[in-house]
């Protein structure tokens, strides 16, 4: 359960600025590592490089074991039933019957067993993301990549889904690399948080989060303290440094 990135360099075609230049990172699981940074900085690109959707210009990305992915949008096949959408990753190796049995168990865990025969369009956005989580967890992956899967949801639903994610992770432990732009999400979920900034990207924060489950709750003082520290770093990395009061540099304070 490891991801090893060595001297990675990557620049998008037709752009001049390198997104990654001799970038190295080592992650070992099981556990959750949150990857934070300003929007559009290249967090998703890093996930796509790890998943093999993009090829680096130089350097190596080594992932130990199979990979599953929870995308920003649910990416369900509209013509397949919810059950078949969840079974899909297993079709390559297991029989359809076995795949569907395992998928149904996973759907029971995410509370959608009664929707097994429905099509994705019949489900709400939150339910679709639960199916997407079930699909990623049903696959026996060593490494799971998550790209802001809870971003489009309101706070109560987001917390509900994060709890569901933690429950599924305890059932099927693995190394999870989760991209988010919300430090609160990182504190709630992750054992390690990394903040990336700059061009080319480099880590400006890399800390193990050793809070208890209670300490991770949004309402806990320990959460608030860590969130403030992380916000300060994120605000510093933001282009508009006056955006976050208390952390940015205000023109009249110069």
């Amino acid at each position: 359960m490891t991801i090893k990135i060595d001297n990675l360099s990557f620049t998008y075609p037709n752009t001049e600025t390198a997104l990654f230049q001799n970038f190295s990172l080592y992650l070992q699981g099981p556990g959750v590592c949150a990857l934070l940074g300003p929007s559009g900085c290249g967090k998703t690109t890093l996930l796509r490089l790890i998943a093999g959707f993009l090829k680096p210009q130089s350097g190596t990305v080594t992932v130990e074991g199979p990979v599953s992915y929870v995308f920003q949008e649910s990416r369900l096949f509209p013509w397949l039933s919810i059950l078949d959408n969840v079974s899909l990753p297993l079709f390559k190796k297991a029989s359809k019957k076995d795949s569907r049995e395992r998928a149904l168990y996973m759907l029971e865990l995410v509370g959608l067993a009664d929707k097994a025969q429905a099509k994705p369009a019949e489900l709400s956005g939150g339910q679709q993301q639960r199916v997407s989580l079930a699909r990623a967890f049903v696959f026996p992956a060593s490494v799971m990549l998550m790209d802001e899967p809870f971003q489009a949801l309101d706070l109560p639903l987001r917390i509900q889904l994060m709890d569901l994610f933690l429950k599924l992770l305890s059932e099927a432990p693995r190394l999870v690399l989760a991209v988010t732009h919300d430090p609160r999400e990182a504190i709630y979920l992750a054992d390690r948080s990394i903040i990336l900034q700059g061009k080319p990207l480099r880590p400006v924060w890399d800390e193990q989060v050793s809070l208890s489950r209670e300490g991770r709750l949004y309402s806990s003082p320990a959460h608030a303290e860590l969130e403030a520290r992380m916000f300060a770093v994120l605000a510093h990395s933001a282009t508009d440094q006056t955006a976050i009061p208390g952390h940015g540099r205000f023109p009249w304070r110069r």
Partner: protein, 249 residues
């Protein structure tokens, strides 16, 4: 409500066409030039009762179905790899250009030399529909969502599984649209070929015989039968398409 209104307007359109026809035949005042709708209807009813007509209708329908049965699998076999591989696409392009640019009548005449009376209408219809259907299938494959393709890449699905779970469902709406537009084209080409090559039992042969005997009323009756059959097959096709669409949804 909207469907009822729509039906009403369609009926009004049919009535307007019949009225123009009636008016035209009244002005021309010659059954040789344009017999009125009532006489044509009577001639059609007389024809429907004859063995000759039923055999002709049946055989023309068989030719349509036969050409469809050949063109659909062949378009899939050529269209899918062409969409997925630029080399095959480039290799096939000259053939499509030649077929698209060749006049229908040339195709019918050449096919007559090669295939004889019975098979020429089938071959001609096949050749007319093939580029339309293949290009629709290619467009369908190319419309497949790249984000869903990434999901299949991630789980290392085989080429057959990609076809089953992504490409075939993506191309179905395009295939149906292509078949819809090909169906009326198929009737036109089959009957045109039948008129020229005159197989033993065919709607086109009936038209040609009626024309040779200057039986304009009967010629129009054969034509009306063709139009009605084309409309009927289209309705059956649309009902099937709706069924598949509902099943997919």
């Amino acid at each position: 409500m909207a469907t009822k209104q729509e039906t009403l307007w369609v009926l009004l359109g049919v009535l307007a066409l019949l009225l123009c026809w009636e008016l035209g035949s009244h002005i021309l005042a010659s059954d040789l030039l344009l017999p009125d709708p009532r006489k044509t209807l009577m001639a059609l009813l007389r024809l429907i009762g004859t063995r000759r007509f039923l055999q002709a209708l049946g055989m023309s329908l068989v030719r349509i179905l036969f050409s469809m049965a050949i063109v659909i699998p062949l378009s899939l076999v050529i269209g899918i790899p062409s969409a997925l591989n630029w080399r095959i696409q480039a290799f096939m392009r000259p053939l499509f250009i030649v077929i698209a640019a060749t006049p229908v009548l040339s195709i019918i005449l050449i096919a007559f030399i090669w295939f004889g009376q019975e098979r020429t209408p089938i071959f001609s219809a096949f050749l007319m529909m093939f580029p339309v259907l293949t290009s629709n299938i290619m467009a369908g494959i190319q419309s497949a969502d790249p984000k869903l393709k990434e999901v299949l890449d991630l789980y290392e699905m085989s080429e057959l599984q990609r076809l089953r779970y992504l490409y075939i469902p993506s191309l179905l709406p395009y295939l149906f649209a292509g078949l819809h537009s090909s169906l009326s084209l198929c009737w036109k080409v089959v009957v045109a070929a039948e008129v020229i090559v005159q197989p033993r039992h065919a709607l086109g042969t009936g038209m040609q015989m009626a024309k040779a005997q200057l039986e304009t009323t009967e010629l129009l009756a054969w034509t009306a039968a063709t139009v009605i059959m084309a409309a009927l097959t289209e309705s059956v096709f649309l009902a099937y398409k709706r069924m598949v669409h509902d099943h997919q949804d």
